[in-house]
């Protein structure tokens, strides 16, 4: 055991019915290091971290924290010990404001009741300082002024750019994650576990987050990052532990490894990072937007006059920081959100403000950003979910009747074609039981195999493992080849660059920049995603000038 070992997990074993999620896993963490935890979906990373965070209890094994053996029964114990976790699926209460979400479980009594040393003596302060009143206050009042200041301070310090009074349901996925990170920081943790923290961040924001994490680590905070992104591991971690099939494959010093080495450790074979993109003659226009205006849930304009056209066999990449109108734009393109002005034409048909059904019937497919909320019915079988967009087809029965045998056969085709794992019976296994990557494959299979004219894919590879990302990207290119026009909304610039024929940048509901992967400048795009230079008129920077110095 190292001298500077801070946290040590020893011989952790955890089984679920039919699966060994962690098989005798040991790992140790040094104080003040950033430790990467790498592995494919289902390798047991999340389980291991949930054990460390007290969400699961291990069947076997010990956890030592700062020289003491931990007996954790709940996350509350973990938090009390000084362990914080930011989950992949956010644990926020949508109706409550950012600050209320953050103080949940660690409330302060209202300001009136806070003890003030040496303040003026009065009936009121005598009253509020009694133990009974303090006890009542700590349980039944909620002071937000002080926490709010502290939260705002933290938010500003780390450049999170959050309105702490806004209710969480109004926030985009990226913003929600920042709230989660803030929540942990607010609790003064000593060990922070981040489950795929950068999945929703832009490269610039990710860099900023890494700087923040580095600063925290220098102050002695220990950070564990679960991730699939090898370049990030290289960039930010000190050491990496790789899990495969529930076993610890090894812990290595990051700077001694190449991304290829890590990928090999993770997958057990070599992974191709380069994608071959054939040149394709793009066809006729499948999507045409003119001066589209869309409002968000709050009734505030989220998309302000977007013009866009996508041709058959073309991938248009839409880059932008989450919360700049992508969600609203995507929803309006598939007919689940009304527009306030402008028009949407799919092929040559005007479908503005038509119901979602019309969009589907005209060959629009959609991969939603939040696959559990909008992409599937988690409690229904894979079969129910597989036919969700096609159950009206005559292939599945005449008139009112629905042919379940045909549906089952079709679902099996999807599962086979897209290599969806974890389904032995499409009628028995529910969508909610699938891992993130496999559920995403099922959704993509459903959306792609109906031969859409237009595919709107919002963050299609978010939160899935390298193997699945590779597969999904290949399928997107295959779909492009077969003549589908694709709008790829992503915050992952690499993905946008690798796949797109054209790149658009969205900022505050407007397309602020258009380029192609060949002539694009990453720094320029990153800058535009964050609002760019306000004074610079768009036209004058169209040609790729000396921007890279900025």
């Amino acid at each position: 055991m190292d001298q500077d070992t801070f946290v040590r997990m020893k011989d952790i074993t955890k089984t679920f019915p039919g699966v060994v999620a962690n098989d005798d896993v040991s790992m140790s963490l040094r104080r003040g290091e950033i430790h990467g935890l790498l592995g494919e979906n289902g390798a047991g990373k999340s389980t291991l971290m949930k054990i460390l965070y007290g969400l699961y209890s291990a069947d076997k094994g010990e956890i030592w924290f700062d020289g003491e053996r931990l007996q954790m029964e709940s996350p509350q114990d973990a938090i009390d010990t000084g362990i914080g976790m930011v989950h992949q699926h956010f644990k926020l209460i949508p109706r409550l404001s950012v600050s209320k979400n953050i103080v949940l479980g660690k409330r302060e009594p209202a300001t009136v009741f806070t003890r003030t040393e040496g303040s003026e003596e009065g009936v009121l302060s005598t009253l509020t300082n009694t133990r009974l009143m303090q006890w009542l206050a700590s349980r039944f009042t909620l002071g937000l002024d002080e926490p709010r200041q502290k939260i705002q301070q933290l938010s500003d310090d780390y450049g999170f750019d959050l309105d702490v009074t806004a209710p969480v349901w109004e926030l985009g996925v990226g913003e929600r994650q920042r709230v989660e990170i803030l929540k942990a920081l607010y609790r003064d943790v000593e060990l922070l576990i981040l489950d795929e923290p950068t999945a929703v961040l832009t490269p610039t924001q990710a860099d900023r987050l890494f700087e923040t994490l580095r600063r925290l680590a220098d102050k002695g905070l220990t950070v564990i990052i679960i991730t699939h992104k090898l370049d990030e591991l290289k960039q930010v971690t000190d050491r990496v532990t790789v899990l495969r099939d529930g076993k610890n494959i090894g812990t290595v010093e990051t700077n001694e490894q190449t991304p290829g080495d890590l990928a090999h450790m993770m997958v057990g074979r070599d992974v191709l990072f380069d994608i071959d993109k054939d040149d394709i003659e793009s066809g006729k226009t499948v999507l045409n937007l003119s001066a589209l205006h869309v409002e968000n849930d709050r009734g505030i304009e989220a998309v302000s006059g977007v013009d866009m056209s996508i041709k058959a066999g073309e991938i248009v990449g839409l880059a932008g920081v989450s919360g700049n109108g992508q969600k609203e734009l995507a929803e309006s393109l598939v007919g689940v959100r009304g527009t306030t002005a402008g028009s949407i034409r799919v092929t040559s048909k005007d479908v503005t403000n038509e119901p979602c059904r019309t969009f589907i019937d005209n060959g629009v497919s959609f991969v939603p950003e939040d696959r559990h909320q909008n992409g599937c019915a988690a409690t229904l079988s894979a079969m129910h979910n597989a036919v969700m967009k096609r159950y009206r087809d005559s292939a599945f029965g005449e008139r009112f009747q629905l042919n379940y045998e045909a549906m089952e056969a079709y679902a099996e085709t999807l599962v086979e074609e897209f290599d969806v794992r974890g389904i032995n019976d499409v009628q028995e296994v529910t969508a909610g039981e699938l891992s993130g990557g496999n559920l995403q494959k099922l959704i993509l299979a459903r959306e792609m195999l109906r031969e859409p004219k237009l595919l709107v894919a919002n963050q299609p590879t978010r939160g899935v493992d390298v193997g699945a990302i590779e597969f999904i990207r290949e399928r997107l290119l295959k779909q492009r080849k077969s003549g589908t026009g694709i709008l790829l909304i992503s915050e992952d610039l690499n993905e946008i660059f690798d796949l797109s024929d054209r790149i658009l940048v969205i900022y505050e509901g407007e397309i602020v920049h258009e380029t192609t992967p060949e002539s694009a400048d990453r720094q320029r795009i990153s800058l535009e995603m964050n609002g760019g230079e306000q004074a610079q008129p768009l036209a004058s920077v169209a040609a790729d000038g000396g921007w890279s110095d900025i």
Binding site: C356, Q373, N374, C376, F400
Partner: protein, 368 residues
């Protein structure tokens, strides 16, 4: 001694638990009611023998059970169908009452031969039930206004309406009680041949169970209902019309409650009284909950409650216990049902003095 109780959400629910839960629910409820019976000086085993065994083995008991079962099956379906789309029709009682009022009015006012009058009464009663839920349905489907509250409030309106019509427009001339004239023979549901007094409504109820089962399991509409019930947001992305499905399930539910009213009136009671209905529409809620996994299970649950009703009145007469005991048993079954649901979702580990019991102690029997 320190007692630790640890709750863990179950990742999957074992099969034996699914099948054992309803059985356990009933057994546990009877066990606790047994205490009440002992307190009243009655041997619970004898009481349960009369209540259950006698009820389901004697011709009189069976006839009575089926008779009570008919409105319960209809009303159970009235709650079950919207529940499939995750809507709560708490107001089946109101739709049932309105169906009975309209059925009686037609039975008394219209003179037609029986083969025309009865179908007319049933259809009109169903339509009245559907109309009664139309406003809550529309409010829910279009504006998302909570149907639990609106359907429930409409019950009180329906009951007031009933009180009015039996004292006003439909009051029998010269009667001292608030009740209508007896329905003429042409408006009375005949019994099923060879089954004594079991009203023909039973056949209609069984037919509706089959139809409901078929709709849920073999049609596009059923797929939409199931899907919307599972995730209404994803359903919208699938191009399903929530408006359409919500209106259909709620109004179909209302119609079924209306049928319950007509069949009870025309098959059993024969005349409208201010208190003709012992709350079938409310009993329908636990029936639909017990049988929520399928229309046939709703039917079984309805018959179980019919047995409790009939058996309850037998022990009242045989042992002289208050009628409230039936309500106690019914309430306990519901209570245990909800508790059992919790045990299905969570695994419970109980340990004493910090020594964990590692056995599969998620079984409800072990923990209660």
């Amino acid at each position: 001694m320190e007692l630790n109780i640890e709750l863990t959400p179950r990742t999957d629910i074992p099969n034996w638990l699914i099948y054992l839960t309803p059985v356990f629910t009933v057994v546990a409820a009877l066990f606790v009611s047994g205490i009440a019976l002992i307190a009243l000086g009655v041997n619970p085993l004898q009481a349960y023998n009369t209540m259950f065994i006698q009820t389901v083995t004697t011709p009189f008991g069976i006839t009575n059970t089926l008779e009570k079962g008919v409105p319960l099956i209809f009303a159970g379906l009235a709650v079950y169908l919207p529940l499939k789309a995750k809507l709560w029709n708490i107001g089946a009682e109101g739709q049932l009452v309105v169906g009975a009022i309209v059925g009686t009015a037609i039975g008394l006012q219209v003179s037609l031969p029986i083969y025309a009058l009865l179908p007319l009464m049933i259809v009109a009663g169903g339509a009245a039930g559907a109309a009664w839920i139309a406003i809550p349905a529309l409010l829910r489907a279009k504006y998302g206004i909570n149907e639990i509250i609106t359907t429930l409030l409409f019950v009180f309106v329906a009951q007031s309406l009933l009180n009015y019509v039996v004292r006003g427009p439909l009051r029998a001339s010269g009667a001292n009680f608030p009740q209508s004239e007896s329905l003429p023979a042409a408006a009375t549901l005949p019994g099923i041949p060879r089954l004594g007094d079991v009203p023909l409504g039973l056949l209609l109820a069984i037919a509706l169970v089959v139809v409901t089962y078929g709709i849920i399991n073999y049609t596009r509409l059923g797929y939409e209902i199931t899907f919307i019930g599972a995730n209404d947001s994803a359903a919208e992305y699938a191009g399903m019309s929530k408006l359409k499905v919500y209106l259909i399930v709620l109004m179909a539910g209302g119609a079924m409650a209306g049928f319950a009213g007509v069949s009870e009136l025309s098959g059993v009671q024969g005349r409208l009284r201010a208190s003709f209905d012992p709350g079938y529409g409310f009993t329908a809620v636990p029936i639909a909950l017990l049988g929520r996994n399928g229309a046939f299970k709703v039917m079984l649950a309805a018959l179980l409650f019919a047995v409790i009703f009939v058996g309850g009145s037998s022990i009242e007469t045989v042992f002289g216990v208050p009628s409230a005991i039936t309500s106690v048993i019914e309430a306990l079954i519901i209570l245990f049902l909800i508790t059992a649901e919790f045990f299905k979702q969570y695994r419970i580990d109980v340990s004493i003095d910090g020594s964990y019991s590692t056995s599969a102690s998620g079984s409800p029997e072990g923990d209660l």
